[in-house]
Subunit: 638 residues, 2 copies
């Protein structure tokens, strides 16, 4: 059977035929690739057939059309189904589906990524598509103010991820009636039954308790699906997200595998695939499109909790670009808040998120200045980064902040953000032992290593207010994952306004023709390096001091010059010894082919406790005294 | 007023007096330290006063008494309250409370850590104490089979963390009636109201939907608290965890700050503290202990889902220590499963967890052999690591496995595990681009950097079955956070049974007197290094090959010898360039003072897509050809 047509009014009979095609194509592409998840695709084929033909408003010729709905496969392993949908709407060819799936150099990857223009975010790490969808829906409802819907297909296994519940919590808090989660409850995970099996009522109760409207349906009853999707789509004026709990059968449509726990993530061998395709009525070549979105202008601004908060409790911050004096004490976290406000005043695409610590990170200044562009994520760091990913997919320049230590909570989301090709701007405050009394749970000592290891990341770590402002501005123009590490305490300004701080650069604060040693720091340790240089004067040792504010990329030229000029380098960092600033310096020097230098790395090698910042810097051996000692030893021994 | 006594039958009047003392002491210690969270302590003081005097069964003289209940402050910032409790039961002195809190070198840290013998796990990163408590409760119910209860005090802000819901989901799935979560709903987070405020009914509905029994009370009504705690304690024979939803007032007891959003995390200045203490009736010196646990023997084994699963579907694995032949192809993940079973047969303390991928990680072999010691955590990696932390606190040797990529989901829990002084044994399979078709979402390319940066961690990465078995055995005896990275594909055995693989060692597989270059690999890249050495023979280049199976600690001796003997080193790793094997090698050589060597590091510097493992190893430039090329360039240029 071959039918081709573009229609806004596809009957359920045709949708049924399309569902069979989606199953057949899911089987064909995974069998051709020798890997993939046909059975997890088949359980959701009816849901997708009805959605795509009758409810998803999408101009397939213009994937970047602002009023398009969004379709996110949170269960990214059902990529055969998604790609079969793309074939069914005519944007992926039969040839590509058959020979491009999961192949080297092709775009139909094992799990969807935004290499494909119809994919908003990369999925495949479960429990992330729905949180990402919250970000897209926030944009649709409050920023773009367009009537599009965000349809997210979730697996039931991934409902065990707490991030799903963070997402529903925020979706209801922000009244995201434009968000529809479709739960494909096929009962079976990778290695057997899920913990709730087919207990769809429990899923519904959980969704309702988290503030969603829940609709329980038979996920293979096209009429019931149609009604539920229509109800979900109609809810745009309501104040609740919708969760459609669809009871389905894994492998539905092929009797040999239906509801079997033994066929997760396995393509059918060719003979089995032939039998399955025969049972499903053979290969089809339907090309069918559903409704296109109506043109729409942005609607009126809607109130949300940040806009409703009594902003006048605290004075409005200045919208001017902040200027700090040399010697003036300012915390870099405060400079972040000041800079973000100024950036937001210039660029309406700047948006801020925070994990309920905005009065510590100083994101609260942005909240007061631009409440409509601030979304409180409460203590849900995974959702915070996911929302940033969704907002980035909609073109917003989102800055997401929390204590640097708690960004570790979201590492999987940061990693997936890189795969999503998202521009994520992350800001971590209260780095290192410098924070003092709160103790190790609040001290970021792994964050530099964590973010450096992410593909294409940028890691910035300013030591004063002026450089912070410049680096926040640089982040706004930096693609990929960028990270700003800020410090709790206030330290004297080092740079005059107007100084340039390119990403990948550094500043040499002390230098002379006969420098005997180079001291490299960033953030708090730069101030210790400067003090150490002063101490060394008494020993007759002249030290070069470099502010390595750009940890990745790092200033190879300045480092190699230092190695060549002084032959001795001390690096001090408020971070564990592995993967941070010291590693970045060592990596760069070795990669540049430098050999004739000696390097002493000072870092936090023990497990800290509470104390004052000064006590702990001394205990860790990264204060001025220890840096000076290391320099003395290096200079004495050669 | 001064009353001293140890009693099993403390009246509520005395508990009321104790509550006032706990508030006063929380104020005193935080004011003395100049930091801390008095108001968050005061909201929960009534709950703790009744709990500690009448329901917590604890022998304070013997904190390691197996039948003791457990008290976990998931809201770790309420440490002033916890330490005031410790003073009230007479295990912390007035002097220590007054001068030891949050001070350098003292044990009353800003957030509780197990430096204190009455603390099971470190908290302070919110949303972790309850998941940790699930691990303790699993031990109590199924492994130790003792009638102790696990009482966890949670804040309301932390209920926004998805990990809390992962914990309740698993607590109900495993029928942990010995677990009681006490929610201190004081309405106020750090920067203002929580998203649900005082809507205690919503919290109750959420808890019930997640399978718990919920009891809503006024958290300042001692009689209501007493009834709820009694009901919770009585539930031991039931099949549900209990969640007590206590509506409380932040700063309760001091009218100047009650229910104020402006007093989060701030100690009162001395004059205010004086007024607060006066309002609370002055300083008290009650020393009161509640009931001691009855002696108890382990009860009968209880069925749980793993023991109820139809284990006979698959054959029982061999309990023998596995032996693989040199040249025999085996996947290191399979060897992990084999080794774990043999370890479990020898040591009844060995327990396994997995994140619903046990048929990929091969933890399923352990499930089949010892279902009573296996706990399926489904797709909830945070809860998996937290459960391992709780089980470690009870003395079990827990191995927790999932795809290495998804351990990133639990990074904050791993970091906190180190602060908890927990011995966590983590196993990540499917590392790197070698996995092929599934694409980047499933490829661990940051895991070595992530775990290396954790304090006191051990990172192991075997290349064959024999070394995997030895390293799994070594992990059983390794303190702290240890990590085993395994590979998807099968590779030929390199070592005969009986070979020794000490942590911190390496194996030199090829070497001679006139080696011109050293090739260093681990896991899949070691096999590529061996092939590269073969290729180089045709060029007349003799290569040393080192299996760097212990990435941290690393074999400094073998590396420095290689640098000195060959002067040229190529390191290849299936990981991003930052913080992994190459960094470990570079760090070690520089730290050892080596200077006269040249190092080429090959790693995955691009963003991979799908493909075959071989295609992707070649694309990344970490296959035998690229390693050989790097060696040729190094040897040609000197």
């Amino acid at each position: 059977m071959t039918t081709t047509g573009v229609s806004n009014d596809v009957s359920l009979d045709v949708a049924a035929d399309l569902a069979a095609q989606l199953r057949v194509d899911s089987i064909r592409c995974s069998t051709s690739a020798g890997s993939g998840h046909p059975t997890s695709s088949m359980s959701a084929a009816d849901l997708l057939a009805v959605l795509v033909t009758r409810h998803l408003h999408y101009n397939w010729d213009e994937p970047h059309e602002p009023v398009n709905d969004h379709l996110i496969f949170s269960k990214g392993h059902a990529s055969p189904l998604l790609y079969s949908v793309f074939k069914a709407v005519g944007v992926v060819s039969e040839e590509e589906l058959r020979s491009g799936y999961r192949r080297f150099g092709e775009r139909l990857e094992g799990h969807p990524t935004p290499i494909l223009p119809w994919v908003d975010v990369a999925t495949g790490s479960l429990g992330q598509g729905l949180p990402d969808g919250v970000g897209v829906a926030l944009s649709g409802r409050y920023l773009e103010r367009l009537p599009y819907r965000v349809w997210v297909l979730c697996g039931d296994s991934e409902l065990a991820e707490g991030s799903i519940w963070e997402a529903l919590d925020k979706a209801s808090y922000y009244q995201l009636s434009n968000l529809v989660a479709i739960l494909d409850v096929n009962r079976l995970g990778q290695r057997g039954a899920t913990d709730l099996g087919w207990d769809v009522d429990v899923y519904a109760r959980r969704a309702e308790a988290f503030g969603a409207r829940a609709l329980v349906i038979d996920g293979h009853d096209l009429s019931a699906i149609d009604d539920a999707l229509a109800a979900a789509a109609d809810g745009l004026a309501s104040a609740q997200p919708t969760v459609i709990v669809a009871k389905t059968i894994k492998g539905k449509g092929f009797s040999e595998v239906e509801n079997s726990p033994d066929w997760h993530g396995k393509p059918f061998p060719p003979d089995m695939a032939d039998r399955a395709i025969a049972e499903l009525g053979g290969v089809r070549s339907l090309v069918i499109r559903g409704p296109r979105p109506e043109p729409a202008e942005p609607g009126p601004a809607l109130a949300h909790p940040s806009t409703l908060a009594p902003q006048d409790q605290l004075p409005k911050p200045s919208l001017e670009r902040p200027v700090y004096k040399v010697g003036e004490k300012v915390a870099t976290r405060k400079a972040y808040g000041d800079a973000l406000v100024a950036l937001g005043a210039r660029d309406p695409k700047v948006v801020a998120l925070d994990g309920e610590v905005s009065n510590s990170t100083f994101a609260e200044e942005f909240t007061r200045a631009f409440p409509e562009r601030y979304f409180e994520m409460f203590i849900a760091e995974q959702q915070m980064v996911a929302a940033a990913t969704g907002l980035a997919a909609r073109g917003y320049k989102t800055f997401a902040s929390t204590f640097a230590a708690f960004l570790t909570r979201a590492y999987d989301f940061i990693r997936m953000g890189a795969i999503s090709l998202a521009d994520l701007r992350l800001v971590g405050s209260h780095a290192g032992v410098e924070i003092g009394a709160d103790g190790p749970s609040q001290m970021a000592l792994e964050d530099l290593a964590m973010i450096r290891a992410v593909h294409g990341s940028t890691v910035l770590y300013p030591a004063d207010g002026t450089s912070t402002v410049a680096l926040v501005e640089a982040m706004a123009e930096t693609p990929g994952i960028s990270y700003l590490r800020t410090t709790r305490g206030s330290f004297p300004g080092l740079y005059a306004d107007g100084e340039d701080f390119p990403v990948g650069g550094s500043k040499t604060l002390r230098s002379g023709a006969d420098d005997q040693v180079t001291l490299i720091g960033a953030g708090v340790t730069l101030h210790e390096c400067l003090q150490a240089a002063d101490l060394l004067v008494a020993d007759g040792i002249t030290a070069r001091v470099i502010d390595c504010y750009s940890v990745k990329p790092i200033d190879v030229g300045a480092l190699t010059a230092a190695a060549q000029d002084t032959g001795r380098i001390v690096v001090a960092e408020d971070h564990h010894p592995e993967g941070g600033l010291g590693s970045a310096v060592a990596d760069a020097l070795l990669a540049a082919g430098e050999r004739d230098f000696r390097l002493t790395r000072l870092a936090v090698s023990g497990m800290p406790g509470s104390g004052t910042g000064d006590e702990l810097l001394a205990w860790a051996g990264i204060d001025a005294e220890h840096i000076a000692d290391a320099a003395r030893q290096l200079t004495a021994s050669v």
